[in-house]
Symmetry: C2
């Protein structure tokens, strides 16, 4: 299964109105606060790995999980090895990593609003200290990647956005660029 | 709060009969499988730290948790800084630590049977590759430590065991001694 995802900077209030006009279904919203860690024995920026503790609040309930992302195994599809599990207490997970010598490198905080439109998930992301973005994504098998990408571009155009302005930089990458 | 704990090697079948004779209450049992990790950047044996992923099975339900134990902060009471949280998937926690460069150093597997007697928790531990042990423990405030320890010795004597034979070595320590 491949995830096709296109992201562009956008003014969210305008896009939300456009989604309403198009009859898109709003499916939920979430606040995600992600703490990324530096390792004591490796440069994650060089090894292309990441260690994250995420806190996600949905309908007043906060859940935490820890995630390890390995380097790209396939550049074209941006596929990574990923290991993720829920944890009962996010603060304790933070404490364990810090005691082991990992140090919090950056915190990415974002409000996400999810819509469903034309077979795609459209996410309106307001990222603290970074800006506002729209992500259009769907899943497909290997043979459907090109068509899925074209479809995502079409959705962006319907929302008044330009697919040529897409960015591949992660929010963490943007945040680190802004602060460095 | 202080935990007073005395541990001696014992033949468990004999101790179980004695507990029955004394009218002790059997309160449950559990299987614990603990994987201890070595760190890629520190010698935990030297820093007196430990990182553990525990799987505990009780009444057919298995739960996992990760625990960091820091060095002794007070030698007399054997007090350590400890951070522990449940995780949804123990295998994923293992995978995350291994991807980060931690390596499984030893696995301690034990069956534990719990009894309640005379204000103490009496635990019958059968530790794979190590042997059989009885632990007598209770919690107390700072002023009660000496009396609690004397009480634990008295319980051991009632069980036909000799407090002078107590061991302070952890099961992990015993396992590593047996295999080295």
């Amino acid at each position: 299964m491949y995830e096709v995802e296109v992201k562009v900077a956008a003014e969210l209030a305008t896009v939300a109105r456009r989604l309403d006009d198009l009859g898109a279904t709003r499916t939920g919203d979430v606040v995600q606060v992600d703490t990324y860690y530096d390792a004591p024995h490796r440069e994650f920026a060089e090894t292309d790995e990441a260690l994250r503790v995420r806190r996600e609040t949905r309908e007043g309930e906060t859940q935490a999980r820890i995630t390890y992302k390995g380097p790209l195994v396939e550049a074209e599809s941006k596929t990574r090895e990923e290991h993720e599990t829920g944890v009962a207490e996010g603060e304790t997970a933070d404490a364990i990593f810090e005691k082991l010598g990992f140090s919090p490198a950056a915190t990415v905080e974002k409000d996400r609003e999810f819509y469903r439109y034309d077979g795609y998930t459209v996410t309106l992301d307001s990222v603290e200290g970074v800006g506002e973005f729209v992500e259009v994504e769907t899943e497909t098998d290997e043979n459907g990647v090109e068509a899925a990408r074209e479809g995502a571009y079409a959705v962006l155009r319907e929302l008044g956005l330009d697919p040529d302005e897409q960015t591949r930089t992660s929010y963490l990458g943007m945040l680190l660029e802004n602060t460095s």
